[in-house]
């Protein structure tokens, strides 16, 4: 006997061995003995016998026992003619020689490892998880691509600005307005890039650029989550992130959000990826992070998270030197930001659109409710993951994982806090500003950071060995359903402007002066025929009449319409309903205007009308 557990190990068996007791336990008449005795046991063909089988090597058949004889209702002595209850066994007739000691086998049974699989990364695992990631990306792409509508006013504004900036850069054409003064991102970065794509491939091309950015973001998210935790958490995190409203919409929305979130993801990826590299390597993330802020100023809100991540990711490998890593990154980013602000005149735009933005009137409860609807489920998964991660660090079923050096609970708690807390930054800031504008996009920015923890949450929900996959599937499906419906709703908020554009196309030229609820849209679509300077919007009005009297606000609209200032008036009744009502009232009974078209549309909130008046000659 060995010290190994007592289990049966098969041994080679030679059925032609000389000492094989042919018909050993068959009696001369060939029927099965009823009760084999202990001395039947010998080398070779051994009847099953509880007392003896351990002692013998060789093939052990299951010996039919007496009690195997069917005794039930179908027992028929005619079927078992020999199976008499008082049959006696017949023993072998010749003497069995004592078998020789078995020779050492010519092979070696290796020691069974403690676990039957390898924890370490393997090529197969990498390919499997990449295939799953590919599927996640395909789902994300399909969700984004199924959205359709004409350009939203922000998209139209940035693309039109991009075209103007491009003309300015290439041919020195003066800009119609100083975009830098009121844009929430640099007009020289994303808008120019998008305009180049738009000029070549149209709005769809510009939107596909955003899709590429968002797919890149999901991929980077997968990559750094894998580095932080493992493939499973990475895939789960990426799968959740890929289907939330913000990701789906930003992936088909030609604004600088997709580019900014991609750059943030890239900066984070660099920080995580260089955790074991020399401290200085973290500086690679600085220009990327600063570029993200340049593309969209609000991205600056997430820089502290990236800086703290530099500390946290470095800590397990570098200990105290990770502080240097953090400091270096903070200094690098700070220096580049300072240089950027010094070199450009963007600060005014930053102030107006981001930091000193006009406070809105949306209540905190409303904003929090909206944030919860748009990112709550994923945030809950992340919070659950963070708590679970603090309680237990082990990320692998393998018992070996227990013995790995895991970072302490404080580190884990800090990581969870930083990642989940980042998701709360945008809602908190928007509550401070009191505006729901762009909230859905900013929720998405935060979810990028919460996604790794959400991935951990999902793996914990599913449990070790995929014990409760249905829970993970349920969570993902719920997120997917919410994401699809919210994204569809979001993309239907603004009316399809194609018919409006078609109607006004023949009524605009280089000289006219036009009033529109959303001038950005016709400015973009009719950029070959008109310039932004010819269009007046519904938000700010300064008008000086022919007698030199100055009017502003509602009085300005009334006076301008009364004087027949505009050659075309396009109201949608959505963008600024109050001003639309003022203008519509001023147009009623106005001898200068004739209703050109009344175009009903259907949007997410129901139905509405484009009303278009043209100046009667």
């Amino acid at each position: 006997m060995t010290s190994r557990p007592e289990y049966y190990t098969p041994q080679p068996y030679d059925p032609y061995a000389e000492d094989e007791p042919q018909g050993g336990w068959f009696n001369s008449e060939g029927y099965v003995p009823r009760r084999p005795q202990a001395h039947d046991a010998h080398e070779g063909y051994v009847p099953r016998q509880p007392q003896a089988y351990d002692a013998h090597e060789g093939y052990v058949p299951r010996q039919p026992q007496v009690y195997d004889v069917p005794e039930g209702y179908d027992y028929d002595p005619r079927t078992y003619p020999y199976q008499q209850l008082d049959d006696q066994p017949t023993f072998a007739l010749r003497t069995v020689t004592q078998p020789a000691e078995p020779a050492e086998p010519g092979y070696h049974v290796p020691d069974t490892p403690e676990v039957g699989w390898d924890m370490a990364a393997s090529r197969r695992r990498a390919w499997v998880s990449r295939a799953v990631l590919l599927f996640v990306l395909a789902v994300q792409a399909v969700l984004s691509l199924r959205l359709s509508n004409t350009a939203f006013q922000d998209e139209a504004l940035y693309l039109a600005a991009g075209h103007a900036e491009l003309q300015h850069l290439l041919h020195g054409t003066p800009l119609p307005v100083d975009y830098a003064a009121y844009f929430s991102g640099s007009p020289q970065l994303y808008p120019v890039l998008a305009a180049v794509i738009d000029g070549r491939f149209g709005l769809t091309g510009a939107r596909l650029l955003s899709l590429a950015f968002m797919l890149g973001t999901t991929t980077l998210l997968y990559s750094f989550t894998r580095r932080l935790f493992n493939e499973r958490a990475a895939l789960a995190g990426a799968a959740l992130f890929a289907v939330v409203q913000s990701t789906v919409v930003m992936g088909y929305f030609a604004t600088y959000d997709a580019a900014a979130v991609f750059l943030l993801a890239l900066a984070t990826w660099i920080v995580v990826r260089t955790d074991r590299a020399p401290v200085g390597a973290v500086l690679l993330a600085a220009p990327v992070a600063v570029l993200a802020v340049g593309v969209k100023y609000a991205a600056g809100l997430y820089l502290p998270t990236i800086v703290v991540l530099a500390l946290l990711t470095g800590w397990p490998h570098k200990g105290g030197r990770a502080f240097w890593r953090m400091l270096l990154l903070a200094l690098g980013i700070g220096a580049l930001l300072a240089a950027g602000m010094y070199a450009t005149d963007l600060l005014a735009g930053v102030r107006q659109t981001t930091t000193d933005r006009d406070h809105g009137s949306d209540g905190a409860a409303f904003l929090l409710q909206r944030s919860a609807e748009w990112g709550g489920l994923m945030f809950l998964a992340a919070a659950g993951g963070a708590i679970s991660y603090v309680r237990r660090s082990r990320m692998n079923e393998s018992p070996l994982a227990q013995r790995l050096g895991n970072p302490g609970w404080r580190w884990r708690a800090l990581l969870g806090l930083v990642l989940c807390g980042t998701a709360l930054l945008a809602p908190a800031y928007q509550v401070h500003l009191g505006t729901v504008v762009s909230l859905f996009k900013h929720v998405g920015f935060g979810l990028l950071f919460a996604a790794p923890m959400a991935g951990v949450g999902v793996t914990r929900l599913i449990g070790a060995h995929f014990r409760y996959p249905q829970l993970g599937i349920m969570l993902w499906t719920a997120t997917l359903c919410l994401g699809i419906s919210q994204a569809d709703w979001r993309f239907g908020v603004w009316p399809d402007s194609s018919r409006m554009i078609q109607v006004i196309d023949s009524h605009v030229n280089r000289e006219g002066h036009y009033l529109a609820s959303t001038p950005e849209v016709p400015v973009y679509y009719l950029r070959e025929k008109t310039s932004q300077r010819q269009w007046q919007g519904a938000f700010a009005m300064e008008y000086t009449d022919k007698k030199g009297r100055h009017h502003s606000g509602d009085a300005g609209y009334r006076a301008a319409v009364r004087d027949g200032e505009y050659d075309l008036i396009v109201l949608d009744g959505l963008t600024n309903p109050r001003v639309d009502a003022v203008v519509a009232d001023a147009v009623t009974g106005n001898p200068h205007y004739r209703l050109l078209a009344d175009l009903p549309f259907r949007n997410s909130s129901g139905t509405g009308h484009y009303r278009i008046w043209t100046k009667a000659s």
């Binding site: 295939a131 590919l134 789902v139 399909v142 199924r146 399809d496 078609q502 009974g589 009344d598 009903p600």
Partner: protein, 341 residues
């Protein structure tokens, strides 16, 4: 072996991806039918000309003041039956591009007639006459249901239509004339009808305000009857060259035109005109063509080719008809309203 395995794994992953993509893509394919009426071009009116998309309201702007003159006719039965228009065309040698008909207040909208005329390149002018409904009632909104239904039908047709309401309002001979209706009531009714049409989105209507020429009723001032430029596209004059009057163009239409020019600059159409049969007819016709041609603000004329009170039909005077034919051949008269420019 290794390669084969990897290939199989790759294939499996690809199949999974495709299945997922198709499953999700299905949603979008199914959801695409909400693309709005812009894409559902199946019901496009066959003769809608410039606007192929029925969801785009017909833009009547180019028809408001076209470069060439309208060459119109009012013939019995048209435009519901274009037979008489075709006869008229054969008689005068030119296809009219404006066909007038008369409808009573309460009649349904003759969309078929408008379509018939459009198919031959002609605009329809409907003279809407409130025989049995007091104008004050219309102004007070008692006919709103009818107007709304009418306006919806006009919008749905999506072809341009000229409407004049209660023509010759300045005459005492009509039921809606000066003996029965005050200027304020008339203006209120006009504005009310116009507003109802605009609210229904029927922007394809050209509104022609149609007084009789002031010559027989010089004491009735027109301005109080004018609803305002916001409610009117054309001024439609009704006046005939009659016997026993000075028949110079300016004598017939001049006083009215001059009075109208004091309060509006809207272009003028001779919405109903003809010349008394007789020896002077030839000269009248010459005056008519010359007068319309001479004035840039004159949009054209509609010849009243009926035998009503007098025989206004052109065929009644062969010599005058010959002259009419000769003058109508001028390229400045008539154009295909489906391609105004």
């Amino acid at each position: 072996m290794q390669l084969k395995k990897r290939f199989r794994a790759g294939c499996a992953a690809l199949v999974c991806c495709l299945a997922g993509v198709l499953a999700l893509g299905g949603c979008s394919l199914l959801g695409d039918d909400s693309g709005g009426p812009a894409r559902s071009g199946a019901g496009a009116a066959p003769h809608s000309g410039a606007s192929a998309d029925p969801a785009i309201p017909y833009d009547v702007t180019p028809l408001l003041k076209p470069e060439k003159k309208y060459f119109g006719a009012a013939v019995p039965g048209a435009p519901n039956s274009m037979k008489n228009v075709d006869v008229y065309t054969k008689t005068v040698g030119k296809q009219p591009n404006l066909v007038e008909y008369y409808a009573g207040w309460g009649d349904g909208f003759d969309a078929t007639g408008v379509r018939n005329a459009w198919a031959e390149g002609a605009l329809t002018l409907m003279s809407w006459e409130p025989f049995d409904t007091p104008v004050a009632d219309i102004a007070a909104g008692r006919s709103d249901e009818y107007i709304e239904e009418y306006a919806t039908a006009v919008r749905r047709l999506n072809l341009p239509v000229v409407i004049d309401f209660a023509d010759e309002f300045n005459g005492h001979w009509e039921k809606w004339g000066t003996n029965h209706v005050t200027p304020a009531q008339y203006v209120a009714a006009w504005r009310h009808i116009h507003r109802t049409f605009v609210d229904a989105g029927a922007t394809n209507v050209i509104w022609a305000w149609s007084p009789n020429i002031v010559n027989p009723v010089r004491n009735v001032r027109l301005e109080p009857y004018y609803p305002g430029d916001a409610y009117v596209d054309w001024v439609g004059l009704i006046g005939y060259f009659t016997a026993g009057e000075d028949n110079a163009f300016d004598s017939v239409f001049g006083p009215t035109r001059d009075q109208i020019r004091t309060f509006t600059k809207k272009p003028v159409l001779l919405l109903e005109t003809a010349a008394m049969p007789g020896e002077r007819r030839r000269a009248d016709i010459r005056n008519l063509f010359a007068g319309v041609e001479a004035d840039d603000d004159m949009l054209g004329f509609v010849w009243f080719d009926h035998k009503k009170r007098a025989d206004w039909r052109l065929e009644a005077s062969p010599l005058a008809l010959k002259e009419f034919k000769r003058l109508a051949a001028d390229d400045r008269f008539g154009f295909d309203v489906r391609k105004p420019s």
